[in-house]
């Protein structure tokens, strides 16, 4: 089993608050890896550090065998890590299709001159972008909503659209920040099917989630963060039995 992403002793602090302290974890290619922990444990901070929104203070991240330097978000996306956001961040006034087409920006080239002249190459590229975006909308199950404006979609569909947009960047690793937040049981079940489908199609998934049942049912391995430190990393069944983890969640003497 090959390691796709390896974080080594990643640290981040905001002023005096140590949000992440020497967090090391490794994600294997093709697995669904869960990242859980109580509120404020540093899960989203880890995401933001990983995807370049925050600069890490220390440690290193190796992705697909090459180290990710302290890089900006678009370079991380270029390397093959795509993400969604805890509070959905769509391009609200663009259609669903256009949202996904923006995701193709990275893998296409047309510039100003191409856009103005609109030669054969640009037209072909534009058609390919459109086709791929439409396919991805179908893939996540909202193909019929292609021409609806993003902010008019239902909550669950907005989550799906965000995943489709992330997939449009051709990622190797898809990082989902609480994708089931605010979903009802039916929507969560459908989301689970979608994520399992992603894995079946060869994608590696990193999942932050509060819904413990979803995490335990879906993930191959789980890491637990508490106060910015990793306190456990194992298969779900073992993590559930871990006294340190139980202590962190229930406030016991750990």
């Amino acid at each position: 089993m090959t390691v796709l992403l390896e974080a080594r002793r990643v640290s981040k602090h905001f002023g005096g608050v140590q949000a992440l302290k020497d967090v090391s974890l490794s994600i294997n290619a093709g697995e669904i890896y869960g990242l859980i922990g109580p509120n404020g444990a540093g899960k989203t901070t880890f995401f933001n550090v990983l995807t370049g929104l925050y600069r890490r203070d220390g440690g290193e991240v190796v992705f697909g065998g090459t180290p990710l330097r302290l890089s900006s978000p678009h370079q991380v996306a270029q390397a093959g890590i795509a993400r969604t956001f805890q509070n959905i961040r769509l391009f609200a006034n663009m259609t669903a299709l256009e949202n996904v087409m923006v995701g193709r920006h990275l893998r296409t080239r047309a510039g100003v001159i191409g856009a103005v002249v609109r030669g054969r190459g640009t037209r072909a590229e534009e058609a390919a972008i459109r086709t791929r975006a439409q396919q991805l909308l179908h893939y996540v199950g909202i193909g019929d909503s292609a021409n609806r404006v993003a902010r008019h979609l239902s909550y669950g569909d907005q989550r799906r659209l965000e995943i489709a947009r992330a997939l449009a960047t051709d990622p190797k690793l898809l990082a989902l920040d609480e994708p089931a937040a605010g979903m009802n049981a039916t929507e969560t079940a459908a989301l689970k099917t979608l994520i399992e489908g992603l894995r079946a199609d060869g994608l590696t998934v990193l999942l932050i989630e509060h819904d413990v049942r979803l995490v335990m049912g879906l993930c191959d391995r789980v890491a637990v963060l508490d106060y910015g430190e990793k306190i456990a990393e194992d298969i779900p069944a073992n993590v559930q039995q871990d006294p340190t983890v139980i202590g962190a969640y229930l406030g016991g003497a750990a």
Binding site: H74, Q78, F85, F91, E98, G103, L106, A166
Partner: protein, 350 residues
């Protein structure tokens, strides 16, 4: 299908016919002063379309846009006048003006990349003023801009050996200078409309709108927001540079006072009133805000004379008053602009 194909062509042919006939009709009925107003309308439409790229597409509020107009105008003035004794041809000066203004756009954009909204507006406002003050003061120690007196006796725009300032008889129809300028301006404005439409519906245009909608998400989608924003500044500025060059050749005179903050505000009003990000709306905004004030200016005096027997309110003051009232009314009743993009309309209706 044939019907659907034919229809847009009918519309285009109609618009083309109106654009061709307009100066002749206006010139014959109202006189050349009103053709001149049409010339300025075309210039302002170009400016508004340029600013629309920055403000409407990329969502970067720019209050100093007129600086790029000034750069284009002064470049033309310096390269086509007795001031330095240089007389370059227009086909070389206009593209150069676009390029130089584009570079100034990047110069303004680079330090402001992390700013948005109000903060960006303040910095761009300062930039616009800096350019104007430079133009005002660059007459010592070396006289470059001739200071507040401005540069006079600029060469008129000359195409195919015909200076556009001189009347021309063509196919038995007499065209005055302002009419010739009108045709040039309209052709270039149409070119800018074309470029704007093509850009909007492209990979770059989508990236601009994505940045406007959510910059963090745009970054996460792999958009290099720095480059894409600088591109928006440069494109918008180059449109301003072209119209500035045309302005200088048309007026044959430039001075710093043509490039005051009020001008930036007017162009921004055209974009906002017309419908930010919607090219037909922006064109409408540019036309209305050039032509309507002129009607007030010329009509208010005689109208008062006829009604009250005397001029009660100074037409100039009345013009600004009505303009202000119109702005307030539009913002109250059509906050998305007079002709917004259809899908944005509902945004303000909650």
């Amino acid at each position: 299908m044939p019907n659907a194909l034919r229809k847009p062509w009918v519309g285009i042919a109609l618009i083309a016919a109106v654009l061709v006939v307009a100066p002749l009709a206006v010139g014959a009925s109202l006189g050349n002063a009103w053709v001149r107003v049409l010339d300025f309308a075309a210039l302002y439409v170009m400016l508004a379309l340029g600013l629309n790229i920055v403000v409407g597409f990329a969502g970067l509020l720019d209050l100093g846009y007129i600086a790029f107009y000034a750069v284009g105008a002064y470049l033309y003035a310096l390269l086509c006048s007795p001031h330095f004794g240089i007389h370059w041809p227009v086909w070389a000066v206009l593209p150069l003006g676009a390029l130089v203004a584009g570079i100034f756009g990047v110069l303004l954009g680079a330090p402001t990349l992390r700013l948005r909204g109000d903060y960006l507006a303040i910095v761009t406002l300062g930039f616009g003023e800096i350019i104007r003050i430079f133009l005002n003061n660059l007459n010592t120690p070396v006289n470059i801009t001739n200071g507040p007196q401005g540069i006079a006796r600029i060469d008129p725009i000359t195409l195919f050996g015909q200076p556009l300032s001189r009347p021309l008889e063509f196919l038995g129809v007499g065209f005055s200078g302002v009419m010739l300028y009108y045709y040039l301006f309209v052709v270039l404005a149409l070119g800018i409309v074309f470029v704007g439409i093509r850009l909007q519906d492209s990979r770059i245009g989508r990236a601009w709108v994505a940045i406007r909608e959510d910059e963090v998400a745009a970054k996460a989608c792999g958009i290099n927001t720095r480059n894409v924003k600088l591109l928006a500044f440069a494109m918008g500025a180059s449109f301003g540079g072209i119209s500035g060059g045309l302005f200088a050749g048309f007026q044959e005179f430039v001075s710093p006072e043509s490039f005051s903050l009020l001008e930036s505000v007017m162009v921004l009003c055209m974009v906002v009133l017309g419908g930010m990000g919607h090219i037909p709306g922006v064109i409408l905004g540019g036309l209305l805000l050039t032509i309507l004030p002129e009607i007030f200016r010329q009509g208010a005096g005689p109208l008062q004379q006829a009604l009250f027997g005397t001029v009660v309110l100074d037409p100039e003051a009345l013009r600004m008053l009505l303009f202000g009232l119109a702005l307030i009314a539009v913002m109250l009743y059509r906050p998305a602009g007079l002709w917004p993009e259809p899908r944005h309309r509902s945004e303000y209706k909650q």
